[in-house]
Symmetry: C2
Subunit: 258 residues, 2 copies
Amino acid sequence: MCELLGMSANTPTDICFSFSGLMQRGGRTGPHSDGWGIVFYEGAGVREFRDPHPSCESEIARLVRNYPIKSDIVISHIRQANAGRVSLENTHPFTREFWGRNWTFAHNGQLKGIKKKELCYYRPVGTTDSEYAFCWLMCKLRERFPKPPARPATLQRYIHTLALELRELGVFNMLLTDSKHLYCFCSTKLSWITRKAPFEKATLKDDSLSVDFKKVTTENDIVTVVATEPLTTNESWNIMKPGELIVFREGQVEYHKE
Amino acid sequence: MCELLGMSANTPTDICFSFSGLMQRGGRTGPHSDGWGIVFYEGAGVREFRDPHPSCESEIARLVRNYPIKSDIVISHIRQANAGRVSLENTHPFTREFWGRNWTFAHNGQLKGIKKKELCYYRPVGTTDSEYAFCWLMCKLRERFPKPPARPATLQRYIHTLALELRELGVFNMLLTDSKHLYCFCSTKLSWITRKAPFEKATLKDDSLSVDFKKVTTENDIVTVVATEPLTTNESWNIMKPGELIVFREGQVEYHKE
């Protein structure tokens, strides 16, 4: 199965530690080897890195691992191809512009019959179920909300409804962002952890790397990391329930629905 | 002034040589130091690298320079900010999805009153005149052509009309691609060269680098490079005329209008 990784923070933070763990799953400690991608937000702007080659061998992945890009929101994905050939256009995450914001999406799972659903404004560039699902979701949002609704919860409730509908077609674990919020929907497998003061040391499962977070943070930092499976051996991760949506803003839970 | 760099080739080709020259203009041999970006196409898929920091100091630029990403179409830009603050969302090139393809755009020049023009489907994420102009151009294309027209020349003629209209507002040197064609519009300054067999040695103006293209090509390769100003000292570049549009496909001229 593909693996997801996301981050929401109240201060620009790098994800090198968690990404190192994820990178090893891309062919060394895990079977995932059909491409990877990562999108970093700095305010409204995005930086993305992607490669159809296995992440454990990728020169670009090595740059991301070693060059600490500080970011408020991150979405990353390692792909194990099931539907759609291995190619650059089939690597997640996918991005579309809506309301003058960059929206980014990554997914794991397979969705039977997704391509029977009708699209309007957005069309996929590649051939994956995932990108098609993203385009459909964005079309529905655009039809319903030509402008941002007055209350964020209105949008968040509707996103939950759409995610539940997509879940009917198969497995739909999702990370989505509108550049301000990180929407995490669990269909089968997703977990998260919020790190804040007092920070402690953490050790990755998939790499020999450990980090003492106390040394690289301030006492006001709040950083939430979301992953398909817990990345560290010595911390308490929250395991999401099937059908659950959590929306993080600046590292904290803003909305939650089961 | 900002600098543009583009490439259209009939075989996946790297742009390290030309990019080295452009990179030096980002703060060493030139005044351009408000960010840079580059988008590579591999078929329908895109890889992009961008940084609001000067290109001559950028770690990411160094990766691009040294890691030969082979591509059919490339658009790159170094920014000298005049309108719109220096930030990640204000770095070119800009990309939008249309007809299930990634369209990418970069621009140099300033456009007075561009933000009075009406937008529809696409909205800018940043604050530059350039991105606004791109969104307007894409809106007009989308209104006129809900689907690709039967004949490419129909679209190309219309793009020329829109570019001439934008040129009325100031300076509008443009590179645009729909993932198959490279549209080059000259408002004040743009030049190009097509390299094919028999290939020869070339020397950059802004770097000490020389390349003997015979050693890195086959006899069937056709590679066109487009730049604001000629990048090499010893080759014959074609200087475009104001108001001219040239459309390249696989390195060759497919459409041309003055």
